[in-house]
């Protein structure tokens, strides 16, 4: 949108001044550092994080003790005193084979995080090596018209994150492409709004799982003869369908409740129908449309995990599910790592949307 950028347009303003103005816009204003703001903005948030980790640590410890006591008790009743002593010694030694399976402590989660990163490094090194090895062969195969050999090893945790992001963006784009135009059309006509309202109200609360099954029924048949990645298609369409309702409802509402004054202006200026939509109605409903899009993106990210889990398409959801099924010693802490990663990415996505919203809309007061 061309009116979005408010760069100083005076011709005689020198480049340096413009750059300064832009920098002032982009960089947040640094607050004056005194004791109070330091306390409020740094110390207290830091203290709350430490408190959270402390509580988690204590809780995990007590859960660990309950589980350990139970294990020793069980060994005592089943196999006698010797076995119980052996079990107690085994748990105390930290041996992997006999650790109680419960909520992992913060330290364990941190270790798992490092393991996952190291694992990613190994896998990407492996991948690079594979690529170097097959480069010559692939060139030959390409010349012969054959498909190149691709790496089929297990994806790392970081790869899974990018797969999930890809799916969520595809789903979000689908929601955007469907919901915004339909919302505008429905918003413009009260007859259409009334006739489609029941449909929206019925489909809005439908669970992601049901959407997935519905999409599965259709896509399965449609992709019968092709070798496309149907798991990806199914999951991104389901994500899009689940998440688009917020945008649809908000767009329709934004378009239908444009300030009457603006409509009067459009009439007095005698704008044509299309110009009225693009120059008056759309800009004025942009804040609401973006609020809808923000909700859509966060719903999409939330729903994605469940859908990946069920659709068995690769990504964070299937990572969590596989770790749970796996039941290895550090599975639980890997699940917690995934939880934090999902949370942080969701937060970042919302921030990005908020920034875009503030850039394109005239309503500069949008906040979290």
């Amino acid at each position: 949108m061309k009116q979005s950028v408010t760069v100083v347009k005076d011709d005689n303003v020198k480049f340096g001044a413009t750059a300064k103005a832009v920098a002032a816009k982009l960089l947040p204003k640094m607050p004056k550092w005194n004791v109070q703001t330091f306390l409020r903005k740094v110390l207290i948030p830091l203290a709350s994080i430490l408190l959270f980790i402390g509580l988690w640590h204590v809780g995990a410890k007590s859960l660990f003790n309950i589980e350990a006591d139970y294990k020793i008790e069980k060994a005592l009743t089943d196999q006698g005193q010797a076995a119980a002593d052996e079990m107690a010694a085994c748990i105390a030694s930290g041996d992997v084979s006999c650790q109680p399976n419960t909520l992992p402590s913060p330290a364990q989660v941190w270790t798992s995080f490092n393991t996952l990163i190291a694992d990613h490094k190994t896998i990407s090194a492996d991948k690079a090596e594979f690529k170097a090895k097959t480069a010559a062969l692939n060139e030959k195969r390409e010349a012969e018209g054959k498909a190149p050999i691709t790496y089929t090893g297990r994806p790392s945790f970081v790869d899974q994150i990018f797969t999930s992001l890809k799916t969520v963006f595809a789903g979000f784009l689908l929601a955007l492409v469907i919901a915004v135009p339909v919302g505008i059309i429905i918003g413009l006509s009260s007859t259409l709004r009334n006739s489609f309202n029941w449909l929206i109200q019925i489909f809005k609360p439908v669970s992601p799982v049901v959407w997935l099954l519905l999409v599965f029924m259709i896509v399965k048949t449609m992709t019968k003869d092709s070798d496309s990645d149907s798991a990806f298609i199914i999951s991104f369409i389901s994500v899009g369908l689940c998440a688009m309702w917020a945008t649809l409802v908000n767009t329709a509402m934004g378009v239908s409740t444009v300030d009457k004054d603006y409509i009067n202006v459009a009439k007095v200026l005698k704008l044509g129908a299309i110009q009225k939509v693009f120059k008056v109605i759309l800009p004025s409903s942009l804040p609401l449309i973006f609020t809808g899009l923000r909700i859509t993106l966060s719903v999409a990210w939330m729903v994605l995990i469940a859908i990946e889990l069920l659709a068995q398409s690769p990504g964070l959801g299937s990572f969590v599910w596989e770790e749970f099924q796996n039941g290895a010693n550090d599975s639980n802490s890997k699940i917690i790592v995934a939880m934090f990663v999902i949370g942080i990415i969701g937060f970042l996505l919302d921030r990005i949307m908020l920034t875009i919203q503030n850039m394109v809309s005239f309503n500069k007061n949008a906040t979290a």
């Binding site: 009116q3 202006v265 120059k279 800009p283």
Partner: protein, 279 residues
């Protein structure tokens, strides 16, 4: 033939039992080049009347004739200055004006458009603020943008709906002068709706009071026989000004009183007497 003519206009909102007749039997004719002010209480149907003339509303019965032709919808020949400025908040001052110019002069070249926009923004002394958005401007500046937008379309008639109502007295005075200057320069026809009798007397050739609604109708007209350009400071001592002002205010107060005493509702008082506790 009058330039703008309203013939037996009635305007009713709603239908059936909920119908309220806002305007009843409005007759008005304005000559070309004239400056007419309509003065009325708030809520008397002034904005409805304006919207009938500029074509945003259709009368329930009666006819609005502009240059002899019945008014069908809005037209670029009648520029409107709205009560609440109605600027598009996502556009800058320049863009707000240029949007109107583009519509009024679809064949103009880019440089012509730009020149025209600059000319009118300059006319209302807002050139330094041309790249600002309405939110960054004061109320008076916003209304000046609204004036520039209406005039840049080069309308033959300017319709102003309480344009200065929300402004402080000083800004109001300045803008009155600016509007008068523009009006006298090209001798456009102007219709001013206001609730300020002094503003009407200072600016208009004729003042017509609007009796308060529902069933609002126009009262007798008052001619203002004061030579132009009028001097605001000297106006207070002008006997003609005093006479007209008193007459109009007396008339308006009279309707106000009549309205109060016209209430026909009778209240039935309960037939009760204090109870006697003495045995």
């Amino acid at each position: 033939m009058a330039y703008l003519e309203l013939k037996n206009i009635n305007k009713t909102y709603g239908t059936g039992a909920e119908a309220t007749e806002v305007l009843t039997d409005i007759n008005l004719s304005i000559e070309e080049g004239e400056f007419v002010a309509i003065v009325g209480f708030t809520g008397s149907g002034k904005t409805t009347l304006v919207n009938l003339i500029n074509g945003l509303l259709k009368p329930t019965s009666g006819e609005v004739l502009f240059k002899g032709e019945p008014v069908k919808g809005t037209s670029h020949e009648r520029g409107v200055i709205f009560q609440n400025y109605s600027l598009l908040p996502w556009l800058t001052v320049g863009q707000n004006v240029s949007m109107a110019v583009k519509e009024a002069f679809p064949k103009a070249s880019k440089t012509e458009l730009k020149e025209r926009v600059t000319e009118y923004v300059k006319m209302v002394n807002l050139l330094p603020a041309i790249n600002k958005r309405p939110k960054e401007l004061s109320g008076g500046m916003r209304q000046r943008v609204s004036v520039a937008r209406a005039l840049a379309m080069n309308p033959e008639m300017i319709i102003m709906d309480e344009p200065l109502g929300a402004l402080d007295a000083l800004t109001r005075g300045n803008l009155q002068d600016e509007i008068l200057k523009i009006w006298s320069k090209d001798k456009r026809t102007a219709l001013l709706i206001t609730n300020d009798v002094d503003e009407g007397i200072y600016m208009a050739d004729r003042i017509i009071p609007l009796k308060p609604g529902p069933n609002a109708t126009l009262g007798p007209e008052f001619k203002i026989n004061i030579d132009r350009p009028r001097d605001k400071t000297a106006l207070n001592d002008n006997p003609e000004y005093k006479k007209t002002r008193n007459a109009i205010i007396e008339y308006l107060m009279g309707i106000g009183e009549a309205r109060k005493s016209a209430s026909k509702k009778e209240y039935v008082l309960p037939d009760v007497a204090p109870k006697s506790f003495v045995a």
